[in-house]
Amino acid sequence: MVAPISTLTTRQTTRQTHMIKRAIALLLLFAVGTLFASLLLGYVPDSELNHTARYYAERTAGDVGAANIVTAIVVTYRGLDTLGEVTVLFISAAIVGLVLAQDRLPSDAPRQPRVPVSELLSTGSRALTPLILLLGVYVFVNGHLTPGGGFQGGAIVASGMLLLLLADPLKQFSHQLISVLESLSGLLFVGIGVLGVLLAGGFLDNRLLPIGTLGELFSAGVIPVIYSLIGLKVGAEFSSMLASLSETEET
């Protein structure tokens, strides 16, 4: 008598706890929702730029020389954020590598049965990858002029790598190459920043190089350089993450 009842009640309890959990979650989220709602209802769109934004809109062209104000903010005005952001990615990639490096699969674990990659995909990818890489480079080199920049370009570069991975799952990336690329671009980024302290107005000041004419490729001081470094670094980091996650065996 006892056993069936207890199993029954266990199951019921589990279901009940689920129900309770959901109910509490809904209740809590309702409260969060009211908080959000009051934010939303209290929101009045600006009709004029506030003084910070106004400063950027007015002064970017003259001071920084970048056509894309967002880029100017990202790379110069709030360059420290971006450096931090790159660092975040850097340590994420490092940790992902660390986590997965420790996790060696037992050698007798069954190798993953892979679907043979179709001819079309492998050929296509080989042809497409250089183009994609080129596109990525274009995006980050032109970051100060057009939408896009280091992050977007880096992501595009990484998707090129992704394509290669898809085409040839067993392909081994050179971790050392990625790592050197990552480190060098990072070091240069910091180095340029420090040079700004020494030679220009402060850390990450873009006026190390002449700011040139608005709208030209070689303008906006070191912004294109930095954005390119960011692009390389981000691309390398994404690639290293993808590679770490995709490789079933340690290199």
């Binding site: 589990t14 279901r15 689920h18 009709s47 894309n68 967002v70 880029t71 699969l105 674990a109 069954p110 993953q112 995006v139 939408p147 896009g148 920049g149 992050f151 977007q152 992501a155 595009i156 990484a158 998707s159 992704l162 994404f238 993450m241 993808l242 996650l245 995709s246 079933t248």
Partner: protein
């Protein structure tokens, strides 16, 4: 100050509804890959929304990173977990039991 054109309004509304629908799908989907794809769709739609909101930089980033790379990361991990073979076949087991319990209600 030009009034918002009905077209833009309509597009935005559709985008928002799509996003919310996709998000709900991602939460409620029975199969994990579907959920991941739905989440990717949310990002993709969001990047269009960013364009509408005059934020092309963000739109590009969201499209490339949010919907692209992230989705791939998920699939890589999923593949590795399935490949690892430790009960990888019923990776959704916990939630399926959960969902079944719900469907009886």
């Amino acid at each position: 100050m030009s009034p918002m054109s009905p077209l833009v309004f309509g597009i935005t509304l559709v985008l928002c509804i799509t996003m919310i629908g996709a998000a709900l799908m991602a939460i409620r989907a029975k199969r994990l890959p579907v959920a991941i794809l739905a989440a990717g769709l949310v990002s993709l739609v969001a990047s269009i929304l960013f364009l509408v909101l005059a934020a092309p930089d963000v739109a590009m980033t969201e499209a490339a990173i949010g919907s692209g790379l992230t989705t791939f990361l998920f699939f890589f991990v999923l593949a590795r977990i399935r490949g690892a073979g430790h009960g990888g076949a019923n990776i959704d087991a916990d939630n399926e039991a959960d969902n079944k319990a719900d469907s009886h209600d």
